[in-house]
Amino acid sequence: MAGSLATSAFFPGPGSSPAASARSSKNATGELPENLSVRGIVAKPNPPPAALQVKAHAQALPKVNGTKVNLKTGNPDMEETVPHSAPKTFYNQLPDWSMLLAAITTIFLAAEKQWTLLDWKPKKPDMLVDTFGFGRIIQDGLVFRQNFMIRSYEIGADRTASIETLMNHLQETALNHVRTAGLLGDGFGATPEMSKRNLIWVVSKIHLLVEKYPAWGDMVQVDTWVAAAGKNGMRRDWHVRDYNSGQTILRATSVWVMMHKKTRRLSKMPDEVRAEIGPYFNDRSAITEEQGEKSAKTGDKLDGDATKQFIRKGLTPRWGDLDVNQHVNNVKYIGWILESAPISVLEKHELASMTLDYRKECGRDSVLQSLTTVSGECTSTGTMQHASAIKCDHLLQLESGADIVKAHTEWRPKRSHTAFESASDEIH
């Protein structure tokens, strides 16, 4: 089988050094196209079973198109660039046997490499499919599941994953869900029908409940699905669990509205878009009504007694905070919101729930200030036993006045080491 792979690989004419050809065909955005993967290697073993197809080709639906298997986002346009990379040597110098041998070996190794990647996908348990984090659709297409390993730089000072890390994972699964479902238009998250109309999704509200924070090296499993939110909005929910124990880490729900990319005005959902995403709607809710009611909404006033206000000014976006549209990424706001939370709260408490209302976006040149109003016991005297539940209201606004995000958070005293945390400390 491998032998035929090698020989058949000659004819589509891959360059003997894909790197060289790739460099010459960089596309407009500076992103090198898919010809860096083992393009043109006719690697077609048994077609992968249904569950795995979603991994093989990102753009179109499950069909592995028979000739190419990419690890990256598929892009049908790339078919045309194949001829640009003129095969370098072995074609034109077939009589040179040593060159031929070298070429065969290269192709063979590359094919084996690619084939190996294909090979282990179908046979291994589900987890392996997610080793590199591609994720997959489960439950008849209604839920998308992806696993993440918590990396060392994603943990905070208390050695558990920060809330920003968890929210980053939610964002990643949302995009991968759209991509795997074949609904990725240009631009992150917009479907093809939306892109045609210059529409993009904009998050309007997020509500999350955290039960347990994972530590470095933990594996978390994120399930996500979508549903309708009123006539023109979309709801996206997540349920995050510890992969090994199945224990819930976090539940979240979010509401998204459509906005025109140029005018920045909100838009109704066109019927064509509804037809695209409707089939994926799943009525399940991550946060039940009672759970939702327990955490107050952002509009509610805090209890009158003992509220304190804190402010942190001069917050500015860095290059790394910006997405491809040079707008500040949603998750970065959370860091800023917490900047003005007093240390006494952060040291002894962990975030139990958070509700965010996104009002306005900000870009590179914005200067922001973060205000926090705290109610509840937050004195730094006393031991941990005296820490009690805390509620805060937050406001992130431009120093010139406009509100960017309003938030409400609830905190509970930090737990002592759970059995899980002590397990990962054992290595010391």
């Binding site: 960089k26 500076g30 083992v38 990102a58 987890m127 594996m219 997405d323 860091g335 010391h428």
Partner: protein
């Protein structure tokens, strides 16, 4: 298939006695599957770590996706680039790359039995209150990975003179094995409490360097490469600057110091917009001088560095810049007293837009 048993996430491994399964796949197993196994990068933590770690290896260890190579002298792991790690060019930011370098360094240290508290210290070091501190970091990126790309990083460390150690990395695109970047870093040992530098004693040397190649292996073997170039101090006014940068809570490490990667972001802050729009960062070198904490305020200064007139050994870095390259020197300093925190150099190549 042998490989099935190497699944770190396989629930089998979570059960007691699973250690036995893993040991069976030690060096012999990986050798057989040679190239393929290396490519998948999905071996369980090697048996050696299981043995050294004693009976109860931690969950984190078992789920480690990278592995030591057969000779035990270097470590390899693969990472997928996530959407939030991608910047305005639709490719991974240099901070993401730096974070991944740090991650694989930590995982290497852990797999050979160093501490997992983030300081990668040996037993002797901990007894003496010693930690590693970065001195210089040099990263070259030839091709930035995009969202969904898988990057394979190999790392190793070795002695560097009498007081230091170095860690090197090679980054490859997993799909085709192409080298997309290289990096090297120099570390010195410091006493945690007195904050003074300390020589590497023989005891520590034996503990640490048993896991390192004896023959020097360099990510940058070429002479006069950029990682060796001195970074001069500039006294003239900076062409560009960004003042009043403030550490965020997320920038602090477990020791309440600003982590190394944040400095990279600060250095980039004072690069002018037109460079950011038209070029991409090819090389960054940072010399770390002082530490910075949550309440400090930092200024970022950028100086244009002209090409040198003399060519030494025909090295590309010594020649005047090609049309498509721009080069800058950087200084990060405390706003208040002007003391230097970091010194840096960046080289930018024009984007083919």
């Amino acid at each position: 298939m042998l490989r099935c048993h190497t699944l770190p996430q396989c629930r089998l491994l979570a059960q007691p006695g699973a250690g036995m399964l893993r040991r069976r796949v030690a060096p012999g197993g990986t050798a057989r599957w040679g190239a393929a196994a290396r490519v998948s990068g999905v071996e369980a933590s090697p048996a050696r770590a299981a043995v050294e770690g004693g009976e109860r290896t931690s969950m984190a260890e078992r789920l480690r996706l990278g592995s030591l190579l057969e000779d035990g002298l270097s470590y390899k792991e693969s990472f997928i680039v996530r959407c939030y790690e991608v910047g305005i060019n639709k490719t991974a930011t240099v901070e993401t790359i730096a974070n991944l370098l740090q991650e694989v360094g930590c995982n290497h240290a852990q797999s050979v039995g160093f501490s997992t508290d983030g300081f990668a210290t040996t037993t002797t070091m901990r007894e003496l209150g010693l930690i590693w501190v970065t001195n210089r970091m040099h990263i070259e990126i030839y091709k930035y990975p995009a969202w969904g790309d898988v990057v394979e990083i190999e790392t190793w460390c070795q002695e560097d003179g009498r007081i230091g150690t170095r860690r090197d990395w090679i980054l490859k695109d997993l799909a085709n094995g192409e080298v997309i970047g290289r990096a090297t870093s120099k570390w010195v040992m410091m006493n945690q409490n007195t904050r003074r530098l300390q020589r590497v004693s023989d005891e520590v040397r034996d503990e640490v360097f048993v896991h390192c190649p004896k023959a020097p292996r360099l990510a940058f073997p070429e002479e006069n490469n950029g990682s060796l170039k001195k970074i001069p101090i500039r006294t003239d006014p900076a062409e560009h600057s960004r003042l009043g940068l403030v550490p965020r809570r997320a920038d602090l490490d477990m020791n309440q110091h600003v982590n190394n990667v944040t400095y990279i972001g600060w250095v980039l802050e004072s690069i002018p917009q037109d460079i950011i729009d038209s070029h991409e960062l090819q090389t960054i070198t940072l010399d770390y001088r002082r530490e910075c904490q949550h309440d400090d305020i930092v200024d970022s200064l950028t100086y244009i560095e002209e090409g040198e007139e003399k060519c030494t050994n025909g090295s590309a870095f010594a020649a005047p810049h090609p049309e498509e390259q721009r080069q800058f020197l950087h200084c990060l300093r405390f706003s208040g007293n002007g003391h230097e925190i970091n010194r840096g150099r960046t080289v930018w190549r024009k984007l083919a837009r």
